[in-house]
């Protein structure tokens, strides 16, 4: 059970990470900065619970606030550029954050033991959950309350005019401007929201994994962040969840029995999916198929 809960937690955290990129993707921005925000959220929350002895919820709250602020500030220069330039600019930001934590030291002595981030040696023993006797169920519940909350908010926003505005900016920035949408404000809002969500994901990750170091926040993680919404499709939030389950559930954990062939299949399957379903696993076509299956099922029941 513990194992499945752990997998469910991982899926939850990665879904949040994917959603933070999803929001930006709606406005047409491909951002590799999400791993950076994730790292900032992780380190902030961990410093708060380990060094300053805060509770988990206020720590998560402040981590979200700080990453949101950071995303807002980064948005100004980064959103001057678009397309591939933005990809590389945000990649640069992510690397910058990684290297910052690579050099970040803040060691304090607690009960005779040194704790805190220690540069390249990492930040270990973030044991808030274990120390406070949280069971696996409780941890999973905490993570998924956040996941469901964020998914619900984004899903709801997508039903309102705000969602249509986000997508309009993503479809055609120029046209969006000429129907009265302030493109900069919309993009900044998406950037900030993405930062907040990535920060949330990071702060949960830190406590789930108990050890942070720069190896965890490389371009690879940033690539995963954008891979989820692209692989899942941006027609709605569930696509991201489906893609996370596909990658973390199937490719990473499900294929374990393949031994060292597993990671070989990993890349190949991504290529296959993109060729077969370029608009994502959970595109409108799949949605229609699911609906038709459900309808068939229902009609059979009735008759």
């Amino acid at each position: 059970m513990d194992y499945f809960l752990n997998l469910v937690n991982t899926i939850g955290i990665h879904t949040l990470l994917g959603l933070s990129a999803y929001i930006l993707l709606l406005t047409g921005q491909l951002s590799l900065a999400q791993a950076g925000f994730f790292a900032v959220g992780a380190y902030t929350a961990a410093v708060l619970t380990v060094i300053l002895g805060w509770g988990i919820l206020p720590a998560i709250g402040l981590a979200m606030l700080i990453t949101g602020l950071l995303a807002f500030l980064v948005g100004f220069p980064a959103l001057r550029v678009r397309g591939l330039m933005l990809v590389v600019a945000t990649l640069a930001f992510g690397e910058f954050v990684r290297m910052f934590f690579y050099n970040f030291r803040w060691r304090v002595t607690q009960e005779g033991v040194e704790v805190g981030p220690d540069g390249t040696m990492g930040f270990s023993e973030i044991r808030y959950f274990a120390e406070h006797g949280w069971t696996s169920w409780e941890v999973t519940s905490l993570i998924w309350v956040f996941v469901i909350l964020v998914m619900a908010i984004i899903w709801w926003a997508d039903q309102t005019r705000s969602g249509a505005v986000l997508r309009a900016v993503g479809e055609d920035e120029l046209a969006a401007g000429t129907v009265g949408i302030d493109v900069t404000v919309v993009k900044m809002a998406a950037m900030t929201a993405g930062g907040v969500i990535a920060g949330l994901a990071g702060s949960l990750y830190a406590h789930q994994i108990t050890m942070l170091d720069h190896h965890a926040f490389t371009v690879l993680l940033a690539t995963f962040a954008i891979a989820y919404p692209i692989l899942g499709g941006v027609s709605n939030v569930f696509g991201t969840l489906v893609a996370v389950i596909f990658i973390q559930g199937l490719l990473v954990e499900g294929l374990r029995f393949l031994g060292d062939w597993r990671m070989l299949l990993f890349g190949a399957l991504i290529i296959v999916v993109m060729n077969v379903k370029p608009r994502g696993l959970f595109d409108s076509q799949t949605l229609r198929w699911i609906k038709s299956v459900l309808r068939l099922h229902l009609s059979r029941r009735i008759s």
């Binding site: 550029v81 590389v88 600019a89 692209i230 692989l231 070989l264 890349g267 290529i271 060729n275």
Partner: protein
């Protein structure tokens, strides 16, 4: 005063080494830029395919005991084939306007090639033969590595050939036409897929040379080099201006020299940070890079 001269020699020596080494960044950058120029898409798997080319050439070198000169040629050919395969698997069948899907597919390609290499070699670093590795010229207080110089010239020659092909032959004309106006080019009877696959193969040729050059310059081939090289290549591409070949060359040499200077004064922890900061400065003050045109397709 002596101290000053001593420092001066050291620093200029470091810049020189860096610039020579930067030629590998430049070649990788050219590959990215070529493909971007032709398709408006990013082929993330490019550097991985380049290194895979070098690996294949090493395998052939060991298996058939081939002469050293063959290595560069074989590497180029293998990487060209791989480049074509990457085009076929990650770009050919994905709708033209779906940039995200193509990007993601090429990321999958990067993972796949990387893991194939690891699988074949167990991730072990392998010695890569190098030409002129014993040659070391001492000019006054400076020392120049013969093999790096050789690598640098190979880079220059292949770039020259590339530029000739692009600007003096029908193939180059087609590539540039497709890059500028794909609809119009199609109306004129050019096959987009043929041009694109040729571009991938040509970029692959160059990548194979870059891969073999990097391996020869370091002396070993290892899978841990792929990701850093990809990132450096992208940075070089952007600093040089997307789609600009001279831009990629100058940016590659420049970044090579720049990072060695930072390494000399500030050390390893800050080296990559400064390179990234340099990129930021470019994005803010020259968003189109050194030689970039205003982007119309993004």
């Amino acid at each position: 005063m002596d101290d000053f001269w001593f420092e001066f020699v050291e620093v200029t020596q470091s810049i020189g080494d860096g610039v020579l080494f930067g030629s590998t960044y430049a070649l990788i950058g050219i590959g990215f830029t070529l493909i971007f120029g032709a398709m408006g898409k990013l082929n993330v798997a490019y550097a991985a395919a380049a290194m895979a080319g070098a690996y294949s050439s090493l395998a052939i070198y060991i298996l058939f005991d081939a002469p050293l000169v063959v290595i560069f040629i074989v590497s180029a050919i293998c990487a060209a084939i791989l480049g074509y395969l990457v085009y076929l698997t990650c770009f050919r069948f994905i709708p033209v306007h779906n940039h995200l899907a193509a990007l993601m597919a090429s990321v999958g390609g990067l993972f796949f090639i990387d893991e194939v290499i690891v699988h074949a070699t167990r991730g072990s670093p392998l010695a890569f033969p190098s030409m002129f590795s014993e040659a070391y010229f001492e000019v006054g207080p400076y020392g120049i590595r013969g093999d790096l110089l050789f690598v640098f010239f190979i880079g220059l020659i292949s770039t020259g050939v590339l530029l000739y092909v692009l600007f003096r032959t029908r193939l180059g004309l087609a590539t540039r036409a497709v890059a500028q106006q794909d609809v119009a080019a199609r109306l004129c009877g050019m096959s987009i897929h043929l041009t694109n696959s040729t571009t991938f193969a040509v970029a692959g040729l160059l990548g194979g040379i870059a891969g073999a050059m990097t391996a020869a310059a370091v002396g070993i081939l290892s899978p841990v080099m792929i990701l850093p090289l990809t990132i450096k290549g992208l940075i070089v591409t952007v600093i040089g201006g997307l789609g600009s070949i001279p831009g990629a060359i100058i940016a590659g040499l420049f970044v090579g020299g720049f990072e060695n200077v930072v390494m000399y004064f500030r050390g390893i922890d800050e080296r990559d940070m400064y390179v990234v900061a340099l990129l930021f400065i470019f994005l803010v003050f020259r968003p189109n890079g050194l030689f970039g045109k205003t982007i119309t397709r993004d």
